[in-house]
Amino acid sequence: MTATLRRALLASAISLAATAAAVAQGVVNVVCVTEEWCEALREPFFAKTGIRMEFLNLRSNESLVRIRAEASNPTFDVFYGGTGDPHFVAAKEGLTVPYASPMLSELAPEMVAAVKGAYLPLYANPIALIVNPKVLEQAGAPLPKSWLDLADPKFKGLIGMADPNSSGTAYTVIATLVQIFGEEKAFEFLAALHQNIANYTKSGSGSLQPTGQGELGVAIIFMASALREKEAGLPIEIIVPEEGTGYEISGISLIKNGPNPEGAKAFIDYALSAEAQDLGTSVGSLQIKANVNATPFPGGPKLEEIKVIDYDFEFYGTPEVQQRLIERWTTQIFPVPR
């Protein structure tokens, strides 16, 4: 009887021991939103510095939740990639600390200015209209040229966008519209747009694949992922609205009290180099890179060529402003039957 119990206990003790983990010294731990990019950086970074880089792939907001939950005893050194807002929030809450990287001089000055020292810019990514021309043709809808075109009832049931209650992308769209048209006119447009929306998706780029597969005609999302899918063969076109568009600036942050601050700084310096930024392009991260010496993706957008608005990241990144705009959308736009 006790022999059985003893055997059972022994077995579970062994399984505990077997799964026990060892943390080596020369390791820098990264919370990484852009998985393939980090995978591509690992080997060259080790070859250069002799520091091993381990990373965990999480979505940007999950990363923030994770870093916040571990604040008393962080396991990660660097927060890499993803939308800018979590980096802003992390800096504001003191979860990350400013780091004056020697690479700052190589970064695009307008991006550095826009993030106001809260974090280091990694790349910029504009919002765009992704269309499937075949679907639009079948449905008798024209190719949209501007934001206001999308209010046309011909687009009914053809447009996909994310729900701002769950997606930063959708909030960026709303904030962009408010900055272009002013709040009242922007919400009038959102109400008209609502009538044409097929579904609000939970994730920001949730309407990209359906557009490629022909379920939808238009997706309102960030441009870079669409650019990559277009390269991969999806029958889509990318349109920047005439009125101009908003964008995000992704970043890299140094986590406060991480286990390996020196390794973290070395990694950040490396990640901001032209070489590391080009590695991103090579694995399909086709955003506009922050390092001015990085090679732009042929056919990809250039910040000076597309009409981007002067996006106020600090004001529209404030939680109170965010909350008010999202609440207004949730109570005044979302419940209207369509």
């Binding site: 009887m1 006790t2 119990l5 206990l9 077995a11 003790a13 399984s15 505990l16 021991a17 077997a18 799964t19 026990a20 983990a21 060892a22 943390v23 731990n29 990264v30 998985e35 965990l56 792939n57 979505r59 907001n61 999950e62 939740v65 994770r66 916040r68 939950a69 571990e70 008393s72 005893n73 396991t75 009914k156 049931g157 729900d163 209650n165 769950s166 930063g168 097929a198 579904n199 609000y200 939970k202 994730s203 780029s205 990209l208 694949q209 359906p210 490629g212 597969q213 022909g214 379920e215 992922s225 990559r228 899918e229 063969g233 999806l234 949730t330 979302f334 419940p335 209207v336 039957p337």
Partner: protein, 755 residues
């Protein structure tokens, strides 16, 4: 001496140094002295002897040694009578408690992460305490039972209750003050419940009020009728209860029909899914048990586990390809206009969940049907009962526990599922996704906790309802007397009907999986149909190490989950002890809690101090063990409910301890439920996302989290390849286990392999 019960004789036999109390106390001291007490960092290995108790010097933890000496001294004196045995055990228990307290206080005061020394000492002392409780007759049962009770209670408290309390704390304890503000804020949010929509012509609030009124009236009328023979004061109370119940029920139906938001959507889907999945599972199990065709049985066995071994969002995606706006079936074959496609929302989520949960119901119903004794049906037929009568009066009452278990599991799974609504939910919100989205989209830990609390309350209600259903009648059918005879075949018409249903179901499932496999061998799903193996090459290069690591973790978690589940089911059904309902509820709580909340709970509970375990594989294994154990519990319980106690009494009379009885008598009879528990635990571990998405750490990613990120990035080819490999691997494993179970099922021995 002669009038001592057999339990008393057991204690006498174990008197002195042979008692497990002494043995396990010495084990505890051996661990304490041989291994370091604490760890320097997170890592369990290598051992750091700088933290050995001798190096650490004098402190309270030395009480472990004092306790061991005391126990040995107490047991050094022979005890010849019942009261003496009892006094001796009580003294030992006191000494053990002092040892545990010393160990605990010194570790927690230092906030030192526990090491193997502390772990071994603690486990040894816990088992010794259990044995002492049983010898002292404080717990009815032998040392195995006592130790089992103490260990299970400790585990459930440490790994389920305590982490959840940490979440509750974060919900009501904001910036150092106790507040319910977050509850008020969430309940008034349109994302939670939205009834009065001023943009519609209908007055929804009025409709809901009408439903509530109708429910109240119906509840009161039913209460009056139900209690027509009850005396007045008691009758008033009962009728009032029915009135309140009716009002709540009517209101719930009202918001399901007219309201929007996470609460009504979740309720509506659960109300659709649980009965449908159970019915489908029951129909298939009936066909599987009684048909004469080996082919049908084989197909059912294999196909029924297919949806079960796939991450829910994968089914969701292939459903979009089949039934979506441009789906193969809906658009190309049936020609439904893309704008009229109802897939996104309640319809899609329900359909996907029914497909995903019918196999769970099938496994439970199959186990339940297999425990029936065919002789009962034969006897009823011989006595002249019609087929319908046999089903209604013999078969149905005996499968009721299985039905209740299946309804319970299906509704809980449906309520806490987050993968399916994420993919197919459309504009609808669901409670489980809101937990996730509140955490990751709105950064609000306290809002997520509030949704978690609502989910827990819902699950509690479901649990009470199933308990009420189970509690009405229970029957023992496995009596140890030989069960012989064959089951009545199904009526021809019914068999054909069931066959048609099964065929339809099979065809749909096969096409769902065909789509996934097809997607893995073409260049670009739905666009470029050139055949290629490139996705598999990429899978081999990048994803295979992660899959292999996940397999190791799943094995390490499934076996303890099954053993612990079987043990808890045995303790809960066969013994009365203090904390019994707590044990049952606590383990259910872990299953019912939405995975993301449990994941966050583990981070909050185990990120620092003595219990530091984050960023190790151990925490993932523990999360999976306690998450998946409840299915083994429920399945074993519904099996145990049908096994007559005379078998265990016979075993006890032959002087077998309860541990031996469990392993040699009960386990062989419970092979189906236990196997169902094992399969479920392994497969759930392989396909788990929500509960470990917060626990994976750098270099320790798991397959499904990787798969989800591939799907989200639009890497559908590699995702499909990964899903195909996972499905084939798991399917092969399950087929092997199912074949093994035929050889192991005690009731098939000597009958040939008749299943």
């Amino acid at each position: 001496m002669t009038d001592l019960s057999f339990r008393g004789t057991g204690a006498m036999r174990l008197a002195g140094f042979t008692s497990p109390v002494v043995g396990w106390t010495l084990f505890a001291v051996a661990c304490y002295l041989a291994l370091p007490l604490a760890r320097t960092g997170r890592a369990f290995l290598p051992l750091d002897y700088g933290l050995h108790p001798v190096v650490l010097g004098p402190a309270l933890h030395w009480l472990v040694v004092v306790a061991a000496v005391a126990v040995t001294l107490v047991y050094g004196r022979p005890a010849s009578s019942g009261p003496q045995v009892r006094r001796r055990a009580d003294r030992a228990l006191l000494a053990i408690l002092v040892g545990v307290a010393g160990l605990g206080i010194s570790l927690f005061a230092e906030a030192a992460p526990f090491g193997f020394g502390a772990l071994g000492a603690f486990l040894g002392l816990a088992i010794a305490a259990g044995a002492a409780l049983s010898e002292g007759n404080r717990v009815r049962g032998d040392a195995f039972t006592g130790a089992g009770i103490v260990l299970c209670l400790t585990f459930v408290t440490l790994f389920i209750t305590y982490p959840l309390l940490m979440v509750l704390r974060s919900a009501v304890w904001v910036d150092g003050t106790l507040t319910l503000a977050q509850f008020a804020k969430t309940f008034s949010s349109p994302l939670f419940l939205f009834v009065s929509n001023r943009f519609t012509d209908v007055d929804e609030a009025r409709q809901v009020a009408l439903w509530a009124a109708a429910g109240t009236a119906a509840g009161t009328a039913f209460g009056l009728w139900q209690t027509r023979t009850t005396a007045l004061p008691r009758r008033l109370v009962l009728v009032a209860l029915w009135l309140v119940g009716g009002a709540i029920g009517g209101w719930a139906v009202g918001i399901m029909l007219w309201g929007r938001g996470a609460l009504p959507s979740t309720l509506l889907v659960a109300v659709i899914v649980a009965p449908s999945a159970t019915l489908l599972g029951f129909a298939l199990a009936l066909l599987g048990q009684r048909t004469n065709s080996r082919v049908v049985r084989g197909c059912l066995g294999v196909a029924s586990v297919l949806p079960f071994i796939t991450p829910p969002f994968v089914i969701g995606f292939s459903m979009i390809f089949l039934l979506g706006r441009r789906g193969l079936i809906t658009y190309d074959i049936l020609g439904i206009s893309p704008f009229a496609n109802p897939l996104y929302g309640i319809v899609g989520v329900s359909l996907s969940q029914i497909l995903g949960l019918a196999p769970v119901a099938y496994l439970i119903m199959r186990g339940s049907l297999n425990s029936l004794n065919p002789a009962l049906e034969e006897a009823a037929t011989t006595l002249g009962a019609s087929r319908w009568r046999v089903f209604r009066d013999v078969t149905w009452p005996l499968v009721r526990p299985g039905i209740a278990a299946s309804l319970l599991l299906a509704s809980i799974e449906s309520i806490s599922d987050f993968g399916t609504p994420l993919v197919l939910g459309g504009d609808r919100n669901f409670l489980a996704t809101e937990v996730f989205l509140a955490l990751t989209g709105r950064y609000s830990q306290s809002e997520a906790s509030v949704y978690g609390v609502v989910l827990l309350l819902l699950v509690l209600l479901v649990f009470l309802a199933s308990r009420w259903m189970l509690g009405v009648r229970g029957f023992a059918t496995v009596t140890g007397k030989p069960a012989s005879g064959a089951f009545l075949p199904l009526p021809r018409g019914l068999e054909w009907g069931l066959l048609a249903l099964a065929g339809l179901w099979l065809a749909f499932i096969l096409s769902l999986y065909g789509v996934i496999f097809y997607g893995s061998v073409v260049e670009l799903w739905g666009i470029n149909n050139t055949l290629t193996l490139r996705h598999y090459v990429e899978f081999r290069n990048t994803a295979w190490p992660v899959v292999w690591y996940t397999i190791q973790l799943s094995v390490a978690s499934a076996i303890p989950a099954m053993m612990l589940g079987g043990l808890i089911a045995y303790l809960v059904t066969r013994h009365r002890f203090w904390g019994r309902s707590y044990l049952e509820m606590g383990s259910l709580l872990s299953f019912a809690t939405p995975g993301t909340v449990m994941g966050l709970a583990y981070i909050l509970a185990f990120n620092d101090g003595t219990l530091l375990m984050t960023s190790t594989s151990a925490i993932i294994v523990l999360a999976l063990v306690f998450r998946n154990m409840p299915v083994a519990i429920r399945a074993s319980m519904s099996g145990l409910a049908q096994i007559d106690r005379s078998l265990e009494e016979a075993s006890a009379t032959l002087k077998a301890g309860s541990g031996t009885t469990m392993v040699r008598v009960l386990a062989p009879l419970l092979i189906y439920p236990l196997l169902a528990g094992l399969i479920f635990a392994f497969v759930s571990a392989m396909t788990a996302v929500s509960q470990i998405i917060f626990l994976v750490s750098a270099g320790r990613n798991v397959a499904t989290v990787l798969l989800l990120s591939r799907v989200e990035r639009g890497d559908l080819g590699v995702a499909a390849a990964m899903a195909s490999v996972l499905i084939v691997l798991l399917l092969a494993l399950i087929v092997v286990l199912l074949i093994a179970s035929r050889y192991l099922d005690a009731r098939n021995r000597g009958k040939g392999l008749s299943i």
